[in-house]
């Protein structure tokens, strides 16, 4: 059976896996974005807190994903929970770092002006600082998503959802007729998903970055 025949016969299974993969990454990205921006907002004002947040999330990223999921299984069990936790934690670093850099990079004169014309702290954050920091934050989200696409494949190790299952099945049955097809379809599926997400982010950027600061 060649690759195309394989795709033809298994497309339903593959689509279901791809959908689950995308859905898992998307949902984890939403959580990671909210959490990451929140951490950024809370810490960017102070030197040490910001650095602590960046270092902590960077340390998390150095843990091999397989080890992380392996460590999580005894704590939260198999399936979706370890997948979600691991993905959210890995997704944090680029977002936290870019949020802090972006918020710190807002021209102090503009912050001064915002305060000077009578904006409260919250209004200043919501109407001036976050919109201006949004382009770098969005870049962080993009990088995170690309990364999570790959890491999500490891989730299959913990019986998680997604295209990782194809890859693991293929690796487990190496030498059999469909082994290569399975690994290939899983990998290509992830690449295609990643490209689709990236394209979506371009559109999101177009829609959410105000025309005045678009480059």
């Amino acid at each position: 059976m060649n690759f195309w025949d394989y795709l033809g016969s298994r497309h339903q299974q593959l689509l279901a896996d791809a959908y689950q993969h995308a859905s898992a990454v998307f949902q984890c990205m939403v959580v990671a974005t909210l959490l990451g921006v929140l951490i950024g907002v809370v810490t960017y004002r102070s030197d040490w807190a910001g650095n602590l947040a960046t270092t902590a999330t960077a340390t998390l990223l150095t843990i091999p994903s397989l080890a992380m999921i392996g460590l999580l299984i005894p704590v939260v069990g198999l399936g979706v929970p370890p997948t979600v936790i691991a993905l959210v934690l890995y997704g944090l670093l680029p977002i936290v770092r870019n949020a802090i850099v972006g918020l710190r990079g807002v021209d102090p004169a503009l912050v001064d002006a915002a305060t000077g014309i009578g904006m409260s702290r919250l209004a200043r954050l919501a109407r001036v600082e976050l919109p201006l920091a949004w382009p770098p934050i969005l870049t962080g989200i993009r990088v995170s998503t690309q990364m999570l696409m790959g890491i999500a494949a490891i989730a299959a190790y913990a019986s998680g959802p997604g295209l990782g299952n194809e890859i693991f099945r293929g690796i487990a049955s190496l030498g059999s007729r469909n082994a290569l097809n399975q690994v290939l379809s899983g990998t290509l599926g992830i690449i295609i998903l990643a490209l689709l997400f990236d394209a979506a982010y371009v559109v999101v950027g177009r829609l959410t970055i105000p025309r005045g600061i678009r480059v």
Binding site: A109, L110, T115, I117, G118, M119, R127, L132, G212
Partner: protein, 438 residues
């Protein structure tokens, strides 16, 4: 407590006498205003006392690092004072909610401070929106403000700040500061980042605006010439915001209080003084004139009758056209087409004496025609009248400054006497503050 004081803010205190024009300015009083930063022994601003009248444009000028900006930012409490009080329109604002306070005070800064992600209209509409104006009223106000600062609302309304030149950005910055019609406007080196020609235009615009609006404006600059041009009064500040002299530009130019001030005024004080007086304020001599439609014979007669050597020929719309000398007329032989010298430089009645002097110096006969609004002839200024006027001006300034100096010394003497008579005065002041808060 902050609630009530915020509500009371826009109406100037009744004792100011211009309660009817609510939004045209409020007095600002700084009492022993002090800023101490933790970890430094010397205060950054040391006990500033100042009274700024309603509708007055006061310029803080001084070398960089003298605390002028800090003093300004304490008025809207961007920097919280560590001691002393601020009263605006009689109201003590030292402890009211700073956010509410700032919405009543316009604030314009260097490099305009426009938010790049908002359109011009959104930028200007920010404060009105925050203080709860309706959408329609805000929109109307935005158009009005754009018009006021000389930008075409239709064209600039939807633009983003980066699509504007530096000067236009600065205008929008001023429009934003004035949008909610605050009685007080603080300007922190607003024209520091634009080129000299644009700066000159913006300064003229500000003078025009102030003529219309009569806000109380506090303006910070390190450029003494800008201070002279704009200020009703100038506070020359030295380190720690100590007031070296607080007086009209004329008085500071003709009678600087000490070496520090005269050092700051720099060379050419008399020349700078010329910038403060307009041609319309000095004596303009009337010259005999004829128009191009007059018959030649009559022109001859007029020249002879006038007793002067020269006569000014006006065109059909009354604008100066040519200088005619007796000799020119002799040689004219029936036609004026080639006779006389063309008038190539004129000054308006609104020009400064400096401009007039420049024109007189470059004119080969040492006189310049003064024109009205539509370019029509109104008179002539020559070297002699100019010199006489300048001497009179300087003399008057000197007398006035001496009088002021005298009063100041008396007031100072009084203060010293009070201080020497006991610490009662100071203790009483501090106690008063405590009572009011309690």
């Amino acid at each position: 407590m902050s609630e009530t004081s915020a509500a009371a803010m826009p109406t100037p205190a009744p004792d100011e006498g211009d309660g009817a024009r609510a939004a045209t300015g409020a007095t600002i009083r700084l009492e022993n205003l002090t800023k101490r930063y933790p970890g430094s022994s010397e205060p950054a601003v040391d006990s500033v006392n100042m009274e700024i009248n309603a509708g007055e444009l006061v310029v803080f000028v001084g070398p960089s690092g003298c605390g002028k900006s800090t003093t300004l930012k304490m008025i809207n409490r961007l920097i919280e004072p560590s001691g002393g009080r601020i009263r605006i329109g009689g109201e003590d604002v030292t402890h009211m909610d700073p956010v509410k306070l700032r919405r009543k005070i316009g604030y314009a800064i260097q490099s305009s401070g426009l938010f790049p992600h908002m359109t011009v209209a959104q930028n200007i509409g920010l404060v009105p929106k925050m203080v709860g104006w309706s959408k329609a009223r805000t929109a109307e106000r935005v158009e009005e403000m754009l018009d006021l600062v000389g930008l075409d609302p239709g064209e600039f309304h939807g633009r983003y700040p980066r699509q504007l030149s530096g000067g236009q950005q600065q205008r929008v910055g001023v429009a934003r500061a004035l949008a909610a019609d605050p009685p007080v406007l603080l300007m922190d080196e607003p024209f520091g980042a634009v080129d000299p020609i644009t700066r000159d235009h913006l300064q003229d615009e500000l003078i025009r605006l102030q003529h219309e609006l009569h806000k109380t404006i506090v303006f910070v600059t390190h450029d003494f010439d800008e201070a002279i041009k704009l200020g009703d009064r100038i506070a020359v500040l030295r380190e720690r915001s100590h007031i070296a002299q607080f007086d009209t530009p004329e008085a500071i130019l003709t009678n600087p209080a000490d070496d520090f001030v005269s050092g700051f005024v720099g060379a050419g004080a008399a020349l700078k003084r010329l910038n403060l007086t307009r041609v319309r304020d000095v004596e303009i001599t009337d010259y005999p004139t004829v128009t191009v439609d007059d018959p030649l014979q009559e022109i001859f007669n007029r020249v002879r009758a006038s007793g002067t050597n020269e006569i000014l020929l006006l065109d059909r719309r009354g604008r100066p056209y040519k200088w005619l000398r007796r000799g020119d007329l002799m040689r004219a032989r029936g036609s004026l087409a080639r006779a006389g010298t063309l008038v190539n430089d004129t000054v308006t009645r609104d020009a400064t004496l400096r401009d007039a002097l420049e024109a007189v110096l470059t004119d080969n006969a040492g006189r310049v025609v003064v024109t009205g609004r539509r370019g029509e002839y109104t008179g002539v200024v020559d070297m002699e009248t100019l010199m006489n006027s300048v001497h009179e001006l300087l003399e008057a300034d000197r007398l006035e400054a001496m009088e002021n100096q005298h009063e100041l010394e008396e007031a100072r003497g009084e203060q010293t006497r009070q201080a020497q008579e006991g610490v009662g005065g100071a203790a009483g002041g501090a106690g008063g503050g405590g009572e009011e808060r309690a």
